[in-house]
């Protein structure tokens, strides 16, 4: 191991607990750092190590589990975790680039700016690779909206996402909004971005060979966001509001100019650059050190060269500031002037702040004085932990509960239950949210928000892209393995219902403190469940983010792995929506269990709303899910599907009602004799979709389904202005009013 001579400022002989707490480094980790360095770190070095070894940057508890994920196939162009985002070959000479990331803690204490800067960060990850961002999605979780505080968070987060994303001219095309008790003090705000680039044009986040100049471009550096990566890596408590200075303030206008300048620079002058990197969590520290690591090089940073927005900043503050809207460009020395001139066009200032060396050491200078000189390899080698895992007995007992012990729903009550479910914020129309997002700019949004997946056109290509997010936290809490597998399966169903074939996943792992055995059990089992489902459905994991320590004095957050999925639709003009279309079209149920038993009520919205229970078994049949996806994609490509809608939250009755409401046309469905009314209408058996086809297409549909081994049952007919589903009989307009207004009734009050 290299021992580096102590830098000019004398290292602290002893370190205070306060100092370690501020950077969330344990005393053992401090000792390890000393051993690896062969000495005590200087102030600056300690700050840099603390940030890079934080859970947020260093993935100490999640990294040892990532090997479970399938990460490769012939379409995947990047290695998991090695670039700012994952890249997928989508054919026709184009690649898609995608990633999802959390901004949970900042949003908890400053919802507008926390959510806004979350959007800003994920967008920079995409254009750092030289890709043009073309779509955003947002997966949101809040506590019950009857509580004023939760409403304030929800309203603020949605406004923040809109305020930033709308200004960028990137459409926000999808996402989720889910309400649950355990998200009250710790909301989840996950933002996903999708970009595209011509094949062969992507740029790596590397520092390049020795002599390469490191330039910072974009915002000046201030004291905002100090210790943001650390803040994201500890639990929230009563003092968290005092961390408000750790939340950055976004400037989307600057980001828009930065994005246009960077995408144009990579498109027109890729040869001027060695690499490009976002200055995200841990600021200049993580961006430059990680670039050096990828290049197997060292770096020198001259902190006095960093343009600042306030005076008197120390080198420590400069290196750890998380000021937004900054990028680091690794520029060939002969093109420094060209790059400066390029950015001037957008009134952006690019400044050389350092260079690349061959000694493998990250040196930090304050003028003449060297204030840090630690090996890159030390800073990028945080310890990895595999804590003890044990299932929480209480949730295991709830999962083992048998729903058949409940009395069945009396048929006359089904009407009322359907309306109550349609009014649940988890099921109701999300129009209140997405009408605050520009979802059309770019004129490529073929299927707008509200259907199972958004579909985007790529100009000049026949094929299109479908994207969605899914994260069924309640199911994961009951059974982390099956619930997380279900997250992948539901996403795949949503993609397939739009007519696209699922091809890749990006994931955001939102969990509580992994040092506690029940939480680590949730985390490790969820990763295994997702991994197996991704393997079964042919969707490798290309990128992602782990957000741990999501807990407050109210307890841990519901374990919520969020799956962002990409699909490719062979012919974008054949995109399918969830809305029923024409009178007389036949309604079919594709997939398993036309007459499900009580076990399918496990973890359902029905149990939650009607019985106040989060209990029962969570099952997933990956073979059936995979067959259903194949059948849906084939049927869509053959032009058979007039509508398709995933059967998930709220079961068959809700799926049918949503297709009818979206199509503004009624439906009549016969269920015949069923074992249980509640399970038949509201059970959440997986691997099912409600589709409609033109009358007379029955034979083709049945043949296609049978070829894939998928059960297909004709259950009804589109038409009229009533919703008739077994014992349910309600005017469509009444159901539509409830579904359309539930969220605004809650949030505009």
């Amino acid at each position: 191991m290299t021992t580096v001579p102590a830098p000019n400022d004398a290292p602290p002989a002893e370190v205070d607990d306060d100092v370690l707490a501020q950077i969330a480094l344990s005393r053992d980790e401090y000792q390890l750092a000393c051993e690896m360095l062969g000495r005590a770190p200087s102030d600056v070095e300690l700050g840099m190590i603390g940030a890079l070894w934080s859970e947020h940057c260093g993935y100490k508890h999640s990294r040892p589990l990532f090997h479970h994920f399938p990460t490769e196939d012939e379409r995947i162009l990047t290695n998991l975790g090695e670039e700012n985002a994952g890249a997928i070959d989508i054919g026709g000479g184009w690649v898609a680039v995608m990633k999802i990331e959390s901004h949970n803690h900042p949003s908890a204490i400053e919802p507008y700016e926390g959510a806004a800067t979350g959007v800003g960060g994920i967008v920079r990850d995409i254009f750092a690779m030289g890709a043009q961002p073309i779509a955003l999605l947002d997966s949101l979780r809040f506590g019950p909206l009857e509580d004023r505080r939760n409403r304030r968070l929800c309203v603020g987060v949605v406004a923040g996402i809109g305020g930033y994303g709308n200004c960028l001219g990137i459409p926000t095309v999808g996402g989720e909004l889910i309400i649950g008790d355990a998200y009250s003090s710790n909301p989840l705000v996950n933002a996903m971005c999708l970009g595209i680039a011509p094949r062969g044009s992507l740029l790596s986040a590397t520092a390049g060979p020795p002599g390469t100049q490191l330039m910072i471009v974009g915002a000046d550096t201030g004291r905002d966001g100090l210790h943001g990566a650390t803040f994201a890596s500890v639990e929230l408590d009563e003092s968290s509001a005092e961390r408000r200075p750790a939340v950055q303030v976004g400037n989307p206008f600057l980001e828009k100019s930065l994005m246009d300048a960077c995408v144009g620079l990579v498109r027109d002058h890729r040869d001027w650059l060695e690499g490009l990197q976002d200055c995200g969590a841990a600021g200049i520290t993580s961006s430059t050190v990680e670039m050096a690591e990828r290049a197997g090089a060292g770096i020198r940073i001259q902190t006095q060269q960093v343009p600042r927005r306030e005076s008197g900043m120390t080198p420590y503050e400069v290196m750890l500031s998380e000021s937004q809207e900054r990028m680091i460009a690794a520029v060939k020395p002969e093109h420094v002037g060209d790059v400066q001139a390029w950015f001037e066009h957008w009134d952006l200032h690019a400044e050389v702040i350092g260079d690349v060396t061959d000694d493998g050491i990250a040196r930090v200078f304050d003028g003449e004085s060297e204030v840090g000189a630690a090996p890159v390899s030390v800073m990028t080698s945080p310890p990895a932990y595999t804590p003890y895992a044990e299932r929480d007995a209480e949730s295991a007992a709830r999962a083992a509960w048998d729903p058949s012990t409940l009395p069945d729903l009396a048929p006359p009550d089904a009407n009322d239950v359907l309306l109550r479910l349609l009014a649940s914020p988890n099921i109701a129309s999300k129009r209140w949210v997405y009408r605050q997002y520009d979802h059309m700019v770019g004129t490529n949004t073929v299927v707008t928000p509200g259907s199972d997946a958004a579909v985007l056109r790529i100009r000049g290509l026949k094929q299109g892209l479908a994207v969605c997010t899914d994260g069924p936290g309640r199911a994961v809490e009951l059974d982390p393995y099956a619930g997380a597998a279900r997250a992948v399966a539901e996403a795949a169903r949503n993609i397939a219902c739009s007519g696209a074939r699922p091809v890749a996943v990006t994931d955001c792992l939102n969990f509580a403190n992994p040092e506690r055995p029940p939480i680590y059990y949730q985390l490790s089992q969820s990763i295994r469940g997702m991994a197996d489902a991704c393997r079964a459905l042919g969707t490798p994991v290309v990128s992602g983010n782990a957000s741990l320590y999501n807990e407050s004095e109210d307890g841990p957050v519901t374990p919520t792995p969020v799956v962002g999925m990409l699909g490719i639709i062979a012919d974008v003009t054949k995109a399918v929506r969830m809305a029923f279309q024409d009178d007389g079209d036949e309604i079919w149920l594709l997939g398993s269990r036309p007459d499900p038993d009580a076990s399918t009520l496990g973890g359902s919205e029905y149990l939650s709303i009607v019985h106040g229970l989060s209990a029962g078994p969570v099952a997933v049949d990956l073979e059936a899910e995979s067959a259903l996806v194949d059948a849906l994609v084939d049927a869509a490509e053959a032009g058979l599907l007039k509508s398709a809608h995933d059967c998930s939250d709220g079961g068959l009755a809700v799926a049918l009602a949503e297709s009818a409401i979206a199509g503004e046309v009624g439906a009549t469905v016969e269920l015949g004799s069923v074992e249980r009314v509640d399970a038949a209408l509201f059970g959440e058996a997986g691997a099912r979709a409600v589709i409609s086809v033109a009358a007379g297409e029955s034979a083709r549909l049945a043949a296609m389904a049978s070829r894939h081994g998928v059960a297909a049952t004709r259950i009804g007919t589109v038409g009229g202005d009533q919703l008739r589903l077994g014992s349910i009989n309600t005017p469509l307009s009444e159901a539509a009013d409830v579904w359309n207004s539930a969220l605004s009734d809650l949030l505009d009050s």
């Binding site: 406004a159 809109g162 305020g163 709308n166 200004c167 960028l168 001219g169 400037n251 989307p252 206008f253 600057l254 828009k256 100019s257 957008w346 009134d347 997405y434 009408r435 605050q436 997002y437 520009d438 979802h439 059309m440 700019v441 770019g442 004129t443 949004t445 073929v446 056109r457 100009r459 974008v572 003009t573």
Partner: protein
């Protein structure tokens, strides 16, 4: 026709406008706001977006861009200028159209399909429409509430310069449901909705083409 599509820092509907016009066989070129001449163009488009991030007030900084004096001269020639969304806001700030756009009455951004009534079809921007026709164009704005003094509003109404009105629910609280107005010469139109987003059947509507076709018919 040969169109200039002006691009300010923060503009984002520039390409959408270019594609919409190209689809109709026109030439459309993006022109950076630092240019000082528009003489070689037959028409000018001011697209939507957030020029200068709406800092200070939407359109308030863009009006000082170098291209704006060329735009004023262009307006005087009688050739068409079309501003949508942020383009409308800039035209108002620059004094080429009266009034201002305030924050939506809901205080929320609104992106949704919107029905509009075409008030008259004897103008260069609406000749392809039937009088009183309802067209559907998307809106996407946080500050689209049209406001002017009662005298200015009466003047606009009396001169028949209100070209589009919101039909059904008024999405932003605009006075007299005003969605789009023209200047006295009839060659400068500002409107909040986005016709370039309704110019492609794949995206669910082509009513925007009524406006483009009218312009091409009158000035092409």
């Amino acid at each position: 026709m040969r169109f200039a599509v002006l691009v300010f820092p923060g503009t984002w509907s520039d390409w959408d406008c270019v594609y919409a016009l190209e689809n109709l066989g026109q030439v459309a070129e993006r022109v950076w706001h630092k240019e000082s001449s528009l003489d070689e163009y037959d028409g000018v488009i001011l697209p939507g977006g957030f020029s200068y991030g709406d800092h200070l007030r939407c359109g308030a900084i863009a009006r000082f861009s170098p291209v704006m004096s060329a735009l004023e001269r262009f307006a005087g020639t009688g050739k068409p200028i079309f501003g949508s969304c942020n383009g409308f806001q800039i035209l108002c700030e620059a004094g080429l159209l009266p009034g201002v756009l305030l924050r939506n009455a809901s205080l929320q951004f609104r992106c949704q399909p919107q029905e509009l009534t075409v008030e008259r079809n004897d103008t260069g921007f609406s000749s392809s429409c039937r009088p009183g026709q309802i067209v559907q164009l998307p809106i996407s704005h946080g500050e689209g509430q049209y406001f002017a003094s009662p005298e200015v509003l009466d003047e606009l109404e009396d001169a028949g310069r209100v070209l589009f009105r919101y039909s059904g629910e008024n999405p932003n609280g605009s006075l007299r449901d005003i969605a789009g107005i023209v200047n006295p010469m009839g060659n400068v139109l500002g409107m909040m909705p986005h016709p370039e987003r309704a110019s492609d059947p794949l995206l669910g509507g082509t009513d925007g083409n009524y406006i483009w076709r009218s312009m091409i018919e009158r000035w092409g």
